[in-house]
Symmetry: C2
Subunit: 428 residues, 2 copies
């Protein structure tokens, strides 16, 4: 039987609130912890969380080649390693079981009591064990803004930028899920006009509005992934906040790139949205001029129309939307990033994560960082409580949201929401 899990007319017997990011057409994958301290793999429909481990044990995935414990794990790595064909079979089966016309689970109160959870009964965890994390720098507007501020507005883009999806390695150990607070980092900086560096709390803590994709095992060491095959190795996407300390970054980053300015924390949304669920929202990427070298050239629609928003919420709970951007503003596509990353034979594993880089749009209200929104402090942002921000203050909460909407179908990412706490009270 052919299943079109993206059919926008499909309805579920599970209640889906209006404007939910998680209709029956989404079927994201995540890892959650129950009140009984059990960790398992799940999906989400409306505000209901579904225990896929329990579903599997009760036979709902019969006929799909899955190991018995594939969902009884604390990461999605092994499931992702099973490959696209398996992801699709599982997504289609979930779509089928939760279809309003399907009675198998709908009519079994016993099974529902085991399989279904409400949001307040669970805590979302990191969905994958991230082996290696790479961050790209693929928004032309962002690279141009940063180049204008730190170098020369006339030559804002580096000579390689239009030829290479520029990227660099980041730190996996400090990537945390939405809801995990982050401390303001301490670090070494060189204050303007000073002759000697100082050590103390960063004064310019920033967010970066990014998205990240998660890969499956893509190649053996030495082997390249041809660009036309690259999307087949991408499991899905999350929202990504690449926390940055601008003063630390400025002093440390030449010549080997950002290090402590970035690796104190990055935050992700907990549900991975599959490329299959995003399929209806494909769109053309930004036109590339000059045409990339053949190993990076592709035809067709390889970007996605994903609307993005950033809120700052103050300690007293006043929220202000400070930016609206879109993933489609990216100059380099995910396929180009992955093809480039493996062009030298670099091995990519299941659960590896690759960030887009800050996603800035063409207008000042679509910039993806405080650095750009407040233009290095020259144009402070006024929040809804009247206070001003040049960077992020202690006790501010930064929330990124993302969703697609087309022909009455809305597929969303939920959010990544992170509170900035004061400097950690350390051993000393």
């Amino acid at each position: 039987m052919f299943i079109n899990a993206n059919d926008p007319t499909k309805k579920s017997w599970v209640h889906i609130p209006k404007n939910s990011d998680f209709p029956i057409q989404n079927i994201p994958f995540g890892v959650f912890l129950t009140r009984e301290d059990i960790i398992t793999i799940g999906t989400r429909i409306g505000d209901t969380v579904v225990d896929l481990g329990a579903m599997h044990q009760l036979g709902y995935f019969d006929g799909i080649p899955l190991t018995e414990d594939i969902f009884l794990q604390d990461t999605l790595n092994d499931f992702i390693s099973d490959g696209k064909k398996t992801w699709r079979l599982v997504r289609n089966r979930i779509n089928e079981v939760f279809d309003i016309g399907n009675n198998s689970l709908q009519n079994s109160e016993d099974h529902k009591s085991i399989i279904l959870f409400s949001l307040d009964e669970i805590d979302m965890q990191l969905p994958v064990q991230i082996g290696d994390y790479t961050d790209f720098y693929s928004s032309k507007e962002h690279a141009t803004n940063v180049g204008s501020m730190f170098r020369d507005p006339e030559n804002a883009l580096m000579p390689n930028w239009l030829h290479i999806p520029v990227g660099y390695h980041g730190r996996s150990s400090t990537i945390v899920p939405s809801g995990t607070p982050v401390h303001r980092p301490i670090g070494q900086t060189m204050p303007k006009g000073s002759e000697n560096p100082i050590f103390g709390p960063s004064r310019f803590v920033d967010f970066e509005l990014e998205m990240a994709f998660i890969t499956t095992d893509a190649n053996t060491m030495g082997e390249s992934i041809p660009i036309d095959e690259a999307e087949g190795y991408i499991f899905g996407m999350v929202l990504f906040n690449d926390w940055s300390a601008r003063d630390i970054q400025k002093w440390e980053y030449v010549p080997l790139g950002p290090f402590l300015a970035k690796n104190f924390a990055s935050s992700i949304s907990p549900w991975i949205i599959t490329l299959d669920a995003l399929e209806p929202f494909r769109t053309s990427a930004v036109k590339q001029d000059p045409r990339p070298l053949p190993y990076l050239s592709q035809e067709g629609e390889h970007s996605f129309d994903i609307q993005l928003e950033v809120d700052i919420t103050t300690e007293k709970g006043v929220s202000t939307t400070i930016s609206k951007s879109n993933f489609k503003y990216m100059y380099w596509t995910m396929a180009q990033q992955l093809a480039h990353h493996t062009s030298n034979g670099c091995k990519v594993n299941s659960g590896d994560m690759m960030g887009s880089g800050t996603i800035s749009g063409p207008t000042p209200d679509s910039y993806g960082s405080m650095l750009e929104l407040a233009w290095q402090g020259a144009r402070p942002i006024t929040l809804n409580d009247g206070s001003e921000r040049k960077f992020i203050q202690d006790h501010d909460t930064v929330t990124l949201r993302g969703f697609c909407e087309r022909n009455g179908l809305r597929i969303g990412f939920g959010e990544v929401s992170t509170k900035l706490l004061p400097v950690f009270n350390s051993r000393t």
Copy 2:
């Protein structure tokens, strides 16, 4: 009973060849594969490999708090996670069991036939699952040489270099043990005088003579490791060859650092030498001027006198030693690197690896890369077969060796030896 495992007068009942890197005072840790395809954790005495999993099952570690399967694993991560007190108890016990005066194992042919292997019966594996890998840039001579070549001999060091142990994140997925061949990478480069980049095999493949240290779980996220505690979180060290493609590096690395120029491969020696075994070879680090900020300041001897050598062996088997350097030439110590790395609260896990950066000495015959030894091709190196090298050729084997020698005691690292193969014959 107090055990001084470093006592240079101690002898073992296992034969130790003259000038062996692995006397009874060394006791390195590694992971090996037997001919029966069993992976286990071991140590090495002379040319004999010792199965620690079998030793534990046979009761030789009784009284030491170890889980039953701690050595029956394919990585050392869990053992390293047990902490310094446990590492020391295990090392001392091995030293005791293999002492010439100890008959327990020596007189049991049954146990010896289970526990002991000759080198040709086993294959060494990667000793740890590396979560995150960081590379530093801590040799002043190397940074000065590179700065002189690529920027300005008068201002070779960047302004931050004397204040920060500059480092950047690398790729864990392509770190391989000695003996695993590496392919010449393909990549995008901008040929001198050209207006457009090209894509093809790198023409300037280089080695980098480095060492790397492996950490235990050091902190919770947000917490810093004070410099005076840092060495306690270092399990041990290996030789590290940070393969580099100089033409790819030159085109890609501004502004976010090296990426594809480095992540196609790095090679390590398979035996981790503990800091305890290196204790007799402590020496002062290079004098630092200006004095580092307090969070990086330390008194006492925090470097190690480790002699380093690099050979190139041609396809026909002719070897030439092309460099002799020493770990003590490093400007920044491992403790400073680890304290700096965690100064912002970056979490460090068991099995993380941190490279020193290229270790160049003060004289041209002690430089740690072809880039420096042949000075960007201006001073080709003549090998013992009369051929010349500016960079590494296909089918060349690069071997790094390292050892300490003092008061008749020699503790060594063995070697990391890697053949460069031609470009990978990929799917296309």
